[in-house]
Structures are given as structure tokens and as C-alpha cells.
Symmetry: C2
Subunit: 593 residues, 2 copies
């Protein structure tokens, strides 16, 4: 049975040493001193380690079952959900006006990492609810907020996002679900939605579906899409649960993983819906949910890699196989532990350096969101908007790759379900797909975000890197060689790729779009390289200031050196591919495939 | 439901145009004219497409079940196995003295690709039998061969390989299974073996287990391992099936994939065993099976990528989503097919160029084996021995990556089991693990094969590349730019990596072993680059000779150009990693992980 230990010390390092959040001028951050943060993360860790992690394999094995129209979640899920709810964990960063704790998004991100690593499928019930909460909170009327949000903050009612239909996912303009206006101001919603995570279950008394649909007679395509609240049970004016609405579960999908989450086909049959925001402006409201959800999905990617890594390390230390080629390390045993072997090290260092870099990147992004919202900072908003597809796409691709790499450490045992490593890989796989498949993230990045606001956000990113390189000039020869020079080279590759797009994309958009996927990865590597260089500075500073835990900080620096030496050189291959443009990519006629 | 179409035309291109096998001076090749080859592959295709492929999902869904000590295979497997057997497909390259057809190994490789792509789990029953056949054929006594081989050639009896025990996989020296000599010359075998593919089932009247075990009092470790024939049912002198032997199935493992194959825990309890070859020389005999099996596993890797690719192409042509950014391509439809989008193209070209390159590489390797065996050619034997870990490790890593990439084309549908794309990825995953996990392949390559016979085989490989580059000098500017120069650069990277190992590996073996995995991939890319450059020459020559199917050959050249431009640049990143040596890989104490 795999286990999970919340990496509280590593999380605190990012929050305190790297981001120095209590020094930042962001509302709520001043209260987040070291002790408070540690207390929150330690409490969360108890839930993650003792309540959620033990249910992870249960969820995978039992899955969700649809019986007589009712979805049954795996054994223990309901009791655990109650515990999470009662502990206030669903309300962390929600609005105090509706029962939330009003903590920064960054705090809920750190807690979310723990919960997601411990049990991804379980944590999605809350995650989807939070997305729906955000959409209603931002775009709903005061009455809607008062009616729905308190119960959603507490997860007494959970939420869903209904976008996909059988014939359309990315291209939502093709949508067929209809919402017909009624005299009383409500709408009758009819249609079928698929891949609805947490679509129905037995852990809450109501499910608040957010549904995209078209109002007949509205504009064609994506411009005619509106967003509706469609509760499973209608809600009476006093907030009590009323009659059953015209929505039902068609079936639960059999999936590769996240079996503990009920992925439903939802059938809407003249269900009563309530418009959120303005008619035909549903995509705007949905994007509020989606941007947040995309960062949450990036987090899922590296969280699965984290828990898989932890177990791979345990196995590598425990399993005796072969001898260290440079000299026996375990003379009293029949063989040395796997961890003595260079290729096992290489594999574990790949995982470790990715996970820790990804955590820094994600928390940095979450802090950007806090700044954007809390300080009305348009620059921060632009930067995180630019980075969202990178966080989502790069971290989930690499997260799956690393979960698979962790599985590999187990040899044959990694392929046997009993050992749990297969589940981490299977669960991680979905993160590359949902909330916009990673190819769509790359398209969003290159086709839209790069040029947004005249390209000023990507320029701001480059300035950030350049400033860092300037600031750290002359720090030390070792820092130059291990961090500064590699970062400079990687960032130059990124700039060259951007330049290639500018020079060629106007003439031929395909010349840029053919390199979009490589660009997303190139960008991701530069971001993680920047994070590692900054973490090295933070660790060096801590050591210089006489920090007692010398080994911890030295390990950080060594892990960063690994990333810079072994992972960052990928930027040159990505650039080489990008610079070949569309020629070889688009050479064939469709029939030639 | 996914489908499979045997790529006979592509297979024939490799056999005829690239390898020109009927012109090669290898026993049996002279009979393999175009028509004969085509007839064989067309007949095999009928079985693969109509019999095996429809059972692939059945095998995945139903799996194998152990009931009252008897293993039941999925519905339809037994009838299909009978059909394969009766068609003579299990006997293709077996010795005519024992009922085989005596065809070259290359032919059975090409047929094996079809069968493995159509139904990997199913084809393993025959594949394991063939491995056991080879070990007995090479190392058994005349009496043993006469007793066992005829029924194994026909697969009336199937075979297995028993190496792994719960506490040891790679490090077989730790093995505990014992074989105690009896007065009658037989042995009593006792112990537990795990992960035994095709360990038991209901499709043959006997199972011939090949079991590694230690004879008490023999040398310690790997030097004291012997190989035994342990039949499920003892075989009477007249060849009839006799009493049940002391071997039973402990359980069937729950795995990530290949559910149609029964992966068994096998318990041996004083089972009667018959020594193969010499006492304590079991590893030598086992390696006969393992080298062949490793090439077969490399084939599994790209075969899964092939079938996944075929389905991804169908989906990309069929699914309407979004519009071509350069202009609408399907004006009468609500959207354009996925295949118009550059990132979908990029993904499909990655898959296509890998699969076709991998096929050429594998067939080239199979031809090397035919040459080594048929002509007693030590150079060919050395070369294929060097290449075996590359074929196994590189093709299975990339095969899984590409099966996953094909799954990605389906978006959310790729994650739903109903669509079948998940199975290809889950099945492909095992190929990276069994027959020696890929890290062990890399270790074998760098730690052993490179220096074998004074490094002469790797020098022969380099000479082969250099000769090709010389021969094609002045062919055309386009060929230079698209193929020759990229191959030259990649091969230079490979040589530089080899040089780095030579210069640093003696002082510090870890400096070489830390780069072993990257070296295996670097080598793989150079091999596929070489294959593509050769295929381009073959296609250009065919066009120059007036071949009628112009589109086919032009597509080959365009696909090769893609590989050279977009995949081959990976060699520079691999080299950059290798050249950082062991410093960052081995920096941490084990406790720091």
C-alpha cells in the first residue's frame, strides 16, 4: 500500500523563504506568519495523510456506482467528506460574507496540493464546487449568491461545470443544449452533457450544476452561449431544498483512472435553470471558473508526481537489488538498495527536481492571483493569464511523465495494481486532457496570450528574468555556472522562439502554431529554471544567515543544480523544433496519414 | 471500438525497398520474393484484423480468472488460438525437424508485429512459447527436443519463462528456488516464481515451464543458477501427457493492462524438473530466450503505437472541432476535422515517423539475427547484441509515449475505456518494464555492450553510419539538407557521448552510468535517423525507377524529413545531459531524498 506524507517543510520553504509572503503587500498575507502557516499546513496534513490517503486505493478499486438513478461513492468517502467539511477545509479562501474564512488563494492552493496528492479523485468533489462558487460569486446576482453560496462554501451542496457534449468539447460553439426562456424569468434547459466530474453522488444534499446552453434565437456559435444555474433539487426561497429538478444521470463513464470521482453523463429534460450574468455572455462567466480550474489541474499534475515520487523513494531505499558498482554499500545484506544505482538516482532526481520546481511555480502563480484580485493589479492579472496555460499544460505533461517514471522504479511491481503506482499514473493522465487538452493550452498560449495587450505580459516575464540575472551578477562563480548561465541560455532560447513566431506567424499562422506545443514546454522549463535559481538564492541566503537546518538548504541547492544541468537543456531541442516551422508538420495531405 | 488494419504496404516497403531481402545472401531469403512475402502478410493480416483485433477489448474487459485452480481465458481466446495454431502461424520460423516451417526470423517478426498490434495480450501466449522453444532448441538434449518441441512448435503445448521471485527480479543471484537432484537424474524443484506471463490457461493441453533454480551446494549468486524444464503435466516417453506435476497457480495478478494474458504467481512444490544444458549454466541458456524476447518486446512497443496511431488518425479525420486558422476546409460542415490543426498534425507526425522508423529498425535487427544464425556471422551477432537493449529500451519508451500521444488526440474520449485508446497505453506500459526494465537495458548497453569485444561492435555501427554518409555525398542538395546533415550531426553527438564515457568512465563508472539512459535514447534516435535516411534513399530510388505509387513514396520521404527535423534534435539534449556526468546525479545522500 502506498503512503503519503505532506511535504510541509518544502511547502513552507516556498511560502516563506522563496515568496516571503508575510513581507508582501497583498491583503491577508500580513497575517500569514511562519507559525500560522505551519499550523494550517500541519492540520491539513493530518486530514490528507490519515483520512484521504487511505481512501485513495479504495476509490480506485470500488469506483462509483449508479444504482436506480442514484450514484454511490466508494466506502468511506462520505464520512471523509463530512470530516473535511466540518474542519472548514472547503471554506478556506471563500468570502466571509458567505461563511468563508477569507484566507488568500495561496493558502488553499497549498492545502489543495496535499489533498490532491493524497486523493485526487476525492478532492475533485470540492474542487469543482469551488469553481462553481467562484463563477456565481463573480457573476451572480446578490440573491443568487445569498441563496447558493453559503451551502456551497461549506460543501453541503457541491457544484459542477457542464460544458462538453458528445459532439463538442473544445469547440463549444457547436453546442446543442437549449435554454428556453419562461414567463417567470427562469429557463427550461434541455440537452445532454458528458464528462461531468462529480456530476452526482451521495455526499451532499444537493448538486448545483452550472450549465452552458444556447437561448434559441441568439447569436450563432460561441457568441450565443449563456450560463445557467441548474440545481439537482430546486431551492426554496428560504434556502431549503425543494422539488427534484429535471436533471438525471444517464450513466457513469468507465475511465482509465480517478475512479473515485463520478464522471457522469447528465441529461437535462426541461430542467429549471437560472441565468447567471447576461444572456449570451456565458463564456465570460465560464472562464472565471476555467482559469482557476486550470491552475488547479496543473497542481494535480505535480501532486500526483509528488506522491508517486515519495513512494518510489521508499521503494528505492528498501528494495535490495544488485551492488553499487563503485563499492558495496550494504555489506551485511544480500544486495545494496536500488538507490545506490546511478540510473535510479537519475530517475529520482528528475522527479524530485520537477516536483519542487513545479510547486514553486504554482505557488508563485497563486500569489499572482492573490495580487491581481486583492490589489487590483492589472500587471499581475496579465502575467497569470499568460502563465495559466503553461502551468496547466507543462505541469500536467511532466506530472504524468514523472508519475510514470516513479512507477518504473518498482519494476514489475509497478505494473501490479496492488502496489498503487499504476493508480498514480492512471489518475495523473486525465490532467493532461480535461479543462482544455494540453494542445489547446498551447494554442491558447501562442495563438492568444503571447500577443495579449500588445505582448506586454510576455515582455514583463522576460524583464523579470533579465532583472533576476542582473541582480545576481557577481553573486559567486558557482552560482554563475550552476544557475545564472543556464537560465540565461534557456531564456535566450525562449526569446528566440518568440522572435521566430513574430517573424513568421504573421505570414503563416501555422508556422507559429506548429511550434506551439514545444513553446509551451520551452516556457515551462524556463519558468522552473527561474524558480530553481531563485530557490537557490533563498537557500544560500538562509545558510548565510545561519539557518540551523543546513542539510535541508544544501539539498535544495543540489536539487536545483540537477534541474539546471539535466532538465533545462531541453530548451535547445524545443527551439530547434520550433525553428523548423510548419514545413514538415503540414507537409502531408490528410489522405497520406 | 478501435480497429486495426495491418500496414502490409509499409511492411513490404521495409522488406523489399529498404532491406532488399531477396538480394541478401542469407539462407531462406532467396525464396522471399515480393509475391511470396505479400501473400504471407496478407494471410496474416486476415487473422490479425478479423480474429485477434476484435478480441482485444474483450481480453481487457474480462481478463483471466482463476477458478478452482484453473485459469480461464477471456471468451473467444481459445477458438482464436486454435485458428492461429491450425493456420501454422506459431511454426513460421521453427525448425522443420520439429514441424516448423523453417522461414527466416524476419518473417515471423513481420507477422508478429501484426498479431501484437491487433492483440498484444493474446499474442504473448505464443511469444512466450517461442522463447521456451528457442532455449530448448539451442541447449536441450536430442531427447528433450524430440519430446517437447513438436508440440511447442504447434502450440499444442505452450511455454513460459520463470525468472522473477518476490524479492528478486533484475538481481537473479538472490534467487531462492531450489532444485534438488534425484537418483533418476531428475530434480525436485521448490519455490515461488512471480509475474509469470501465460503462466497457466485453458488454451493448451500442457504448459512447459522453463524455471531458473539453484542446485544446493552450487556456487553462490548468479553463477549457481541452473535452468529446468518443469512441465505442468509430466510427459510420458511416448510423448503423451501424463500425471500432474507439483506446480500450481498461486494467484493471477491484477495489472494495469494486458489483462487478456494470465500473469501468474507460480508455486513449485517438489515439482519434477529436467535440467537443460549444464548445471549452474542456466543464465547462458536463459539469455538465448531473453535476447530474442527483448527484440519481441521492442516490437510490442511500436506495435501498440501503430494501432493507437491508426485510430488517432481516424478520429482526427472524423471529429469536427474548430476551424483551420488559414481558411475553412469543410465549409459544408459545422466545423473542420481535427486533422487541419497544426498541433494535431505535429502529434500525428510524431507518431507516424516514430512507428515507421521503429519498424525499419526492428526488421533490420531481425535480419541481423537471421544473418548471425544463418551465416554464422560473428559481426552480425555482435552488432545485434549491441543493439538489442536499444531496440528494447528505446522502442518501448517511445512506443508508450506515442500510444499516450494517440490517446491525447481523442481528448476526453481518450480517457474513457469504451473508446479503447486507454488500453493501448496501458498495454504498452508493461513493455518498458518486463524482460529487463529499461534502466537495466541502458546499464547493459553502457556497462557491457559498448566495450564488448574491445568496442568493435560500436565501431562497426559508427562505420556503417560513416559509410552511408560517404556513399550519399552529392546525392542532392535537398537530401543533404534534410537527411545527411542531420544524421551527421546526430551521429557526432553519439560519438561525443561515447568519447565522454571512455574518458570518464574508467576513473568513475558512475560518470558513465549516470548518462546511460540518455545514451540509450541518443543511440535510438541515431538508429531511427539512419533508418529514415536509408528509407528516403530507397523511396527516391523507387521514384527514379518510375514506381507507379508516387504518393506512397513521397509520403515516406516527407515523413522522414519530419523525423530528421523534429525528433533527431533530441540528440543534442541527451548529449548535454550525458556530459554533465555524475556530479548532479549522485550529489545527494540517500537520506536527502
Amino acid at each position: 500500500m502506498p503512503s503519503y506524507t505532506a511535504p510541509v517543510k518544502d511547502q513552507l520553504f516556498v511560502l516563506n523563504d522563496l515568496l516571503k509572503i508575510s513581507e508582501q503587500d497583498v491583503p491577508g498575507y500580513d497575517e500569514l506568519d511562519r507559525d500560522t502557516l505551519e499550523a494550517i499546513l500541519d492540520e491539513a496534513a493530518k486530514i490528507a495523510e490519515q483520512v484521504l490517503a487511505p481512501l485513495n486505493a479504495v476509490g480506485d478499486t470500488q469506483g462509483c456506482v449508479l444504482e436506480n438513478g442514484v450514484v454511490r461513492t466508494p466506502e468511506g468517502f462520505k464520512a471523509a467528506f463530512d470530516q473535511v467539511r466540518e474542519g472548514g477545509w472547503t471554506a478556506l479562501d471563500c468570502d466571509p460574507d458567505y461563511g468563508g474564512q477569507g484566507l488568500p488563494y495561496l493558502v488553499s492552493t497549498a492545502v489543495g496540493e496535499q489533498f490532491s496528492a493524497a486523493n485526487m479523485a476525492f478532492n475533485m468533489y470540492q474542487g469543482l464546487t469551488h469553481g462553481a462558487y467562484s463563477a456565481i460569486h463573480t457573476h451572480g446576482t446578490e440573491a443568487q449568491k445569498a441563496l447558493y453560496l453559503p451551502k456551497m462554501v461549506s460543501c453541503e451542496w457541491t457544484g459542477t461545470m457542464n460544458l462538453t457534449e458528445p459532439h463538442c468539447g473544445t469547440d463549444l460553439g457547436l453546442m446543442r443544449t437549449k435554454a428556453v426562456p419562461q414567463d417567470d424569468g427562469t429557463y427550461k434547459v434541455t440537452g445532454q452533457k458528458i464528462f461531468i466530474s462529480a456530476g452526482d453522488h451521495d455526499m451532499s444534499e444537493n448538486v448545483i450544476h452550472l450549465v452552458l446552453a444556447k437561448i434559441p434565437g441568439g447569436p450563432e456559435g460561441i457568441k450565443g452561449v449563456s450560463l445557467f444555474i441548474v440545481p439537482k433539487f430546486l431551492v426554496n426561497e428560504d434556502g431549503s431544498v425543494g422539488e427534484r429538478n429535471g436533471v438525471s444521470v444517464g450513466k457513469i463513464e468507465e475511465k482509465m483512472g480517478i475512479h473515485g470521482n463520478s464522471t457522469c453523463v447528465m441529461n437535462y429534460d426541461e430542467a429549471t435553470g437560472y441565468l447567471i450574468g447576461t444572456e449570451h455572455k456565458g463564456m465570460r462567466a465560464m472562464f472565471t471558473m476555467m482559469n482557476e480550474a486550470r491552475i488547479g489541474v496543473g497542481l494535480q499534475g505535480y501532486a500526483q508526481a509528488e506522491v508517486a515520487y515519495q513512494n518510489a523513494v521508499d521503494y528505492a531505499k528498501d528494495r535490495l537489488q544488485g551492488r553499487d558498482v563503485t563499492g558495496v554499500k550494504n555489506p551485511d545484506g544480500p544486495a545494496d538498495p536500488l538507490i545506490v544505482h546511478p540510473d535510479i538516482r537519475r530517475n529520482l532526481m528528475d522527479q524530485k527536481s520537477f516536483v519542487e520546481g513545479a510547486r514553486a511555480f504554482t505557488y508563485w502563480g497563486a500569489a499572482m492571483i492573490d495580487r491581481a484580485h486583492g490589489c487590483d493589479d492589472a500587471a499581475a492579472d496579465g502575467l497569470i493569464s499568460l502563465m495559466t496555460p503553461v502551468i496547466k499544460g507543462f505541469l500536467t505533461d511532466k506530472g504524468f511523465e514523472m508519475a510514470t517514471a516513479a512507477q518504473q522504479v518498482y519494476g514489475g511491481h509497478g505494473y501490479i495494481e496492488e502496489w498503487g503506482m499504476s493508480q498514480f499514473a492512471r489518475d495523473a493522465r486525465i490532467a493532461m486532457i480535461y479543462e482544455g487538452a494540453n494542445g489547446v493550452q498551447a494554442l491558447d498560449l501562442v495563438g492568444r496570450k503571447l500577443a495579449q495587450d500588445g505582448g506586454k505580459h510576455v515582455m514583463a516575464f522576460f524583464a523579470m528574468v533579465t532583472d533576476f540575472i542582473k541582480e545576481t551578477k557577481g553573486r559567486s562563480d558557482a552560482f554563475d555556472k550552476d544557475f545564472r548561465e543556464p537560465l540565461k541560455a534557456a531564456s535566450k532560447d525562449l526569446q528566440a522562439a518568440g522572435m521566430f513566431f513574430m517573424q513568421n506567424g504573421m505570414k503563416n499562422p501555422n508556422a507559429a502554431l506548429s511550434g506551439s506545443y514545444d513553446f509551451m514546454h520551452l516556457f515551462g522549463h524556463v519558468c522552473l529554471g527561474l524558480m530553481w535559481a531563485r530557490m537557490a538564492v533563498a537557500a544560500e541566503d538562509a545558510l548565510a544567515a545561519g539557518a540551523s537546518d543546513v542539510a535541508f538548504y544544501e539539498t535544495k541547492i543540489a536539487t536545483g543544480r540537477y534541474y539546471m544541468a539535466r532538465q533545462l537543456p531541453m530548451t535547445r531541442t524545443h527551439l530547434a523544433r520550433i525553428e523548423t516551422g510548419a514545413d514538415t508538420v503540414m507537409a502531408l495531405d490528410a489522405e497520406a496519414f
